[in-house]
């Protein structure tokens, strides 16, 4: 793409977005304060029927988190927290959570900041070394995983996290903060615990991450995509945590040309792309599970040419160069192997 084209496209988008800024972003503090709900709002019934556009309803519901580990504790406010945790506060200030919570707290002083996530701080302030008196999100915090995740889900329930309960990550005892760290801006997006989504997933799935270093791979090491493009780590309707209903629908998100439906379909292709391809990386061409022609010969033993055993003699430097083993092998002729829309393509020749 030429740079002028890029500039033209960028301008179009930015200008388009910019026209909306005055309408949605400019709001005085007084207006904000008037429109914010008066105090903690946890009921479904709150503000029913009232449009909340423009009043930051996402943070207006913030309340002091419930900490079963400190049942008698009371809120102490952000200033008290900062008295000891100044450096943490400095890092936190540049995060998205801080922006929203501070704005909401300024409009309504009853809206907590630190204690939204960490629970009431009085017991912790009295005995800072005692574990569990404040909701912590670290290995040695003394806060049960369930309390940690419940606290996050108090604001983040539903949507992509609707299937968290019962998901494989939940069942294996992961906490939100195994992957996210909202205390500083560690990543460009997503408040991840590591510098990227991919680095975060690789904490546990190092073996999968290394598959992307192989000869053919999805463009993940190059930063062009993330694990999150295909998987929803918070839970989904599929066992491998796919974001869509099936393997193929996931692949079609970027490979829409493979969707068809074709005039002539190839059964294993329609069933699952993973019948022939491995999703993360392969030392074969085009993410194939095993070399051609053997990949095809797992299923095809038809008469004549499909079922011959090839040896190195069939290669380009062999005694009998044979197109069935050379180069693209089977798919040199059966090129439209994902399905053909040609009336003369039942064997994917055209």
């Amino acid at each position: 793409m030429r740079s002028t084209d890029a500039i033209r496209r960028l301008l179009a988008l930015v200008l388009g977005c910019a026209t909306l800024v005055p309408a949605l972003a400019q709001q005085s503090r007084d207006e904000l304060a008037k429109s914010l709900p008066p105090t903690n709002l946890t009921s479904d019934d709150v503000q029913v029927g009232a449009s909340m556009i423009g009043v930051a309803p996402g943070f207006a519901n913030a309340k002091v988190a419930d900490n079963p580990g400190a049942p008698g504790a009371t809120a102490v406010g952000e200033r008290t927290c900062i008295a000891c945790h100044r450096l943490e506060s400095e890092h936190f200030t540049h995060t998205f959570h801080a922006l929203g919570l501070h704005a909401a707290s300024k409009a309504d002083a009853s809206i907590p900041v630190c204690e939204t996530c960490h629970g009431p701080g009085s017991a912790h302030a009295k005995d800072p070394g005692a574990k569990g008196l404040i909701i912590g999100y670290t290995k040695d915090s003394g806060t049960p995983i369930e309390t940690q995740t419940k606290t996050c889900l108090a604001c983040h329930a539903g949507g992509p996290r609707d299937r968290w309960l019962g998901s494989v990550h939940q069942r294996n005892g992961l906490s939100c903060t195994d992957c996210h760290n909202p205390m500083a801006k560690f990543s460009a997006e997503g408040l991840m615990a590591r510098a990227s989504i991919n680095d975060t997933c690789a904490q546990c799935h190092r073996d999968v991450r290394l598959q992307f270093n192989r000869r053919s791979h999805m463009p993940l090491p190059e930063g062009q995509m993330s694990c999150d493009d295909c998987h929803n780590p918070h839970g989904s309707v599929t066992n491998p945590l796919l974001k869509t209903n099936s393997v193929n629908e996931t692949c079609y998100q970027c490979h829409a040309e493979k969707r068809g439906p074709f005039l002539f379909e190839h059964a294993p292709v329609r069933e699952s792309c993973l019948n022939c391809h491995t999703p993360h990386g392969s030392n074969q061409q085009t993410l194939l599970v095993t070399p051609l022609p053997f990949l095809c010969q797992q299923c095809h033993s038809g008469l004549r040419h499909p079922n011959d055993l090839h040896t190195p003699g069939s290669l380009g430097n062999g005694a009998h160069p044979d197109e069935r083993a050379m180069g693209r092998a089977c798919v040199t002729c059966h090129a439209n192997i994902h399905g053909s829309n040609a009336p003369s393509g039942p064997k994917f020749h055209e």
Partner: protein, 852 residues
């Protein structure tokens, strides 16, 4: 007629109007969750390094995640500037890069376009208004014309977010292409002047190929998108996304004009070049509700693919010859492919979750979709004149030449049973899940899922001009070499076996599972899940495929210095009777008037073969993950994963086993200093078997009959081994930061084989002697050493200099391309791609980081 390309480029008006449509995807919907490039896959997160003060003044060292991994050191606070109510910060990183060595290599340039010269490594600018939480940001990076991204976001925390982006991503497929045709990248490939289509000699084409300079082939994706999400109330949110992506370029493809291997100086096997010029618009949008009792989501997703071309054609250089003495083959000059059809996809989804007593939840998701296409169909053949064989030695159609056909009856849309494809698949999904937590220590789970795909049309290969069934095989070439194998059936040739119908692949899957998780004390959790799945495909070898599995899991945190997770799954797959040939109805065999050949209908395949997706199998799967914390500043992570599959198949896939282990040591002795070392090994072995026939017209599908005998059996094992290792170092020498890394991959794949006798072989004379034997292909290897080193040198409070170097050495051997270094053209075979090549390449760069 094709629908015009959609939204290319996205016009400004549409961008504004469509702010209710987006490109900002989240972890629940869509792709585009990350924009970065190889220059910095973290999109700038690590540019400024680490805050030397660490995480906290209260305690030394870092914290650990609940699992036990060390949290990273937080970045230093950005330099901010106040502009009235707004506070801004940012960084601009610009400089130059230069490449050397084999910098045109396709593997070195995979998904990156190191063009050299000036680069915008990063522009990140943020503005915030603390008073109401408004914010705006821009992030951009540009390595070259084909490798860049630009992103703009604005919104208000907890209220709304609008996001727009542009992204160009290269995909260099090969740098060893020698296409002999003119018109690469277009939908019509022609031979250069002086090379006659259908009449060139192999020597002439080999010379043409040799004289063709190597070039690169690749595909660039250009994508732009808009995204919008908003809180409507504290409970209701809405989101909308729209993206438009164009792909353009070219890549090696195929081109069949019948076999060359059994017929020297005959046939044609052509690796042509396919043009890529298409666009895809993806849309998604929906509403979500999250209350204390109910959660809901109503969503729509749509995708619209448009290809510039309906077909592409290429010239065939070689002449064909009939196998029958005295006969003559029709001269064929042009081959064709249908491109992927324009297609539309719509999907609606509704999900409901309700809190239940016993601290439980019930979730029900219903989804319905439709994928359809009605692309104009291309004619059955692109020839002019005649195709087939003139048995009497001339090319005049008539009773004397029953296997010679007029192209005019087949090279027109009038030769089709219908003009457009009109294909459609309807999909539906119903998923229900219930979780109950009757006590703090016990979780009970259950789920049901039902999924269907219903085909809504079939295609009949019938020519109304001639009254014949079937199609024109391999651009007319097969019938021009072998009499009677044109692919056409009619009552005058009633024993011809050819495809006459499309294959609808309707299917449904029903799944059920129950499970429980039990916390045994505070530090152990045990889990068990029983699952059953019934897959019912139509027109497959089995009508029912049943999976039953049990999964056991254990999480242990008994030791302060260890978190252990273990999962084991046993699965058994079985099904109803295996029908080795369920496809008769798609062949002329099913036509009234079909007459079986004198020796019977040739066996479709051997009846002992089991296609692995529906074969019976048992699987053992083991997954161990351990996180050790030997010291406050160290973490050792280890994993062991195994997956062992045994297939109940005499022929076909017999087994597929994988076993891998990783270990990684991480050390963070101080803020800004860290080191890690990792090693990983994995091995996979795929075992398969097949059988060659003794009689290519045999009708008996069983081993021991007139078609297959035991001495035709063969076996192959493909074993893949991967060694990965790496070291990462980062250390601050005063204000100067050093980053260095080494990553290594050594992949080695071996394919060895055994055979009962030379009868099994494609070329029996390639082995010496008779009887059982075996051998192996040359190892397929891929070895990469990658070193990088960088220095970050502060020059001023707001300015720093970055110098870096990346050196990579890659070695690859792929036996598919052995001999291609000498020639890409062997007899009637012409290959465009010369295959992957090793490389030694270097990237050096200098960047100036300026805090804005």
């Amino acid at each position: 007629m094709r629908t015009p390309r959609l939204l290319r480029p996205l016009p400004l008006a549409a961008a504004i109007a469509a702010v209710a449509a987006n490109a900002r995807a989240d972890s629940g919907v869509g792709v585009d969750t990350w924009r970065a490039n190889k220059l910095d896959p973290t999109a700038g997160a690590t540019v400024e390094g680490c805050d030397a003060r660490g995480t906290s003044w209260l305690e030394a060292g870092g914290h650990r995640t609940p699992t036990g991994n060390l949290y990273a050191c937080p970045p230093p606070s950005p330099a901010t500037a106040d502009h009235g109510a707004w506070t801004t910060s940012g960084i601009l990183s610009v400089g130059a890069v230069a490449t050397g060595g084999d910098d045109g290599n396709a593997l070195w340039n995979r998904y990156v376009d190191w063009d050299g010269g000036i680069v915008l490594a990063l522009l990140a600018f943020e503005a915030e208004r603390a008073a109401d939480g408004s914010y705006a940001s821009v992030r951009a990076s540009r390595i070259s014309d084909d490798d860049e991204y630009y992103q703009a976001v604005f919104g208000r925390a907890g209220s709304y977010k609008v996001q727009a982006f542009l992204r160009d991503m290269p995909n260099l497929v090969t740098n060893t292409a020698k296409p002999i045709w003119n018109g690469v990248g277009t939908n019509h490939l022609t031979l250069p002047a002086g090379y006659a289509a259908g009449a060139s000699t192999p020597d002439a084409i080999a010379g043409l190929s040799a004289a063709t300079p190597e070039r690169t082939l690749g595909v660039t994706r250009e994508k732009q998108g808009l995204g919008f999400s908003v809180y409507l109330t504290p409970q209701w949110t809405a989101y909308a996304n729209a993206t438009d992506e164009q792909r353009h370029g070219a890549r090696p493809f195929g081109g069949p004009f019948f076999f060359n291997f059994p017929f020297p100086d005959n046939g044609g096997v052509l690796e042509t070049v396919k043009p890529i010029d298409d666009s895809t618009v993806n849309l998604s949008g929906g509403f979500r509700y999250a209350g204390t009792t109910w959660r809901m989501e109503f969503g729509y997703s749509g995708s619209f693919y448009r290809d510039r071309y309906t077909r592409y054609t290429y010239e065939m250089p070689f002449a064909l010859a009939p196998l029958v003495p005295g006969a003559v083959s029709a001269p064929l000059t042009t081959g064709q492919f249908a491109t992927e059809p324009d297609n539309d996809w719509h999907n609606l989804k509704a999900a409901f979750t309700r809190k239940l007593p016993l601290n439980g939840e019930l979730s029900i998701t219903a989804s319905g979709g439709r994928m359809s296409q009605d692309d104009t169909l291309i004619p059955p053949v692109a020839c002019a004149g005649v195709f087939g064989i003139g048995l009497d030695g001339n090319l005049q159609t008539g009773p004397q030449n029953p296997y010679l056909y007029d192209c005019a009856n087949w090279n027109t849309p009038d030769a089709l049973s219908r003009r457009s494809a009109d294909m459609r698949i309807d999909t539906s999904l119903l998923d229900a899940r219930m979780v109950l937590q009757p006590g703090a220590d016990l979780t009970l789970r259950g789920g049901l899922r039902h999924e269907r795909e219903d085909y809504r049309n079939v295609y009949l290969a019938y020519n109304p001009l001639t009254g014949q069934y079937g199609y024109v095989s391999e651009n007319g070439s097969q019938g021009s070499v072998v009499p009677g194998e044109s692919g056409i059936w009619d009552p005058t040739d009633p024993s011809a076996i050819t495809r006459i119908r499309s294959l609808p692949l309707d299917m449904q899957t029903t799944e059920a599972n129950i499970g429980a998780d039990w916390k045994v004390g505070a530090r152990d959790t045990l889990g068990a899940t029983l699952a059953f799945s019934r897959y019912e495909p139509n027109h497959r070898e089995r009508g029912t495929v049943d999976d039953g599995s049990i999964k056991l899991s254990w999480t242990n945190r008994a030791l302060d210095w260890l978190t252990l997770r273990a999962n084991y799954t046993y699965l058994h797959q079985d099904g109803d009777r295996y029908d080795y040939d369920p496809y008769d109805f798609t062949y002329s065999i099913s036509l009234p008037g079909f007459v079986a050949p004198p020796n019977g209908v040739p066996a479709h395949t051997v009846d002992a073969l089991r296609k692995y997706d529906v074969a019976s199998r048992s699987e053992h799967k083991l997954d161990l993950m351990a996180t050790f914390m030997p010291r406050d500043d160290m973490t050792v992570s280890a994993s062991l994963r195994g997956d062992f599959n045994d297939y109940d198949a005499d022929l076909g896939r017999k087994g597929y086993d994988t076993l891998g282990a990783t270990v990684q040591w991480e050390w963070q002795p101080a803020p800004g200093s860290n080191a890690s070392v990792y090693y990983a090994y994995d091995r996979s072995k795929l075992r398969m078997a097949n059988i060659n026939e003794i009689n290519d017209g045999g009708s008996n599908p069983s081993i021991g009959g007139n078609t297959y005998v035991d001495i035709g059996r063969w076996w192959a094992d493909d074993t893949q081994r991967n060694h990965n290792a790496g070291v990462v170092l980062a250390h601050a020498f005063g204000r100067v930061r050093l980053d260095a890394s080494w990553n290594y991959l050594h992949a080695r794949g071996t394919t060895d084989y055994r055979f009962a006798s030379p009868l099994a072989l494609a070329w029996a004379d390639t082995v010496i002697g008779d009887g059982a034997g075996g051998g192996a292909f040359p190892a397929m290897t891929y070895r990469v050493n990658s070193f990088s080193v960088g220095l970050h040198i502060p020059l001023h409070e707001r300015v720093a200099l970055r110098v870096f170097d990346l050196y990579e050495r890659g070695r690859i051997s792929d036996w598919h391309y052995l001999g291609f270094a000498t020639t890409h053209a062997i007899d009637h075979r012409v290959y465009t791609d010369g295959g992957p090549q090793g490389y030694d390449a270097n990237l050096v760069g200098v960047l100036l980081d300026v805090r804005l």
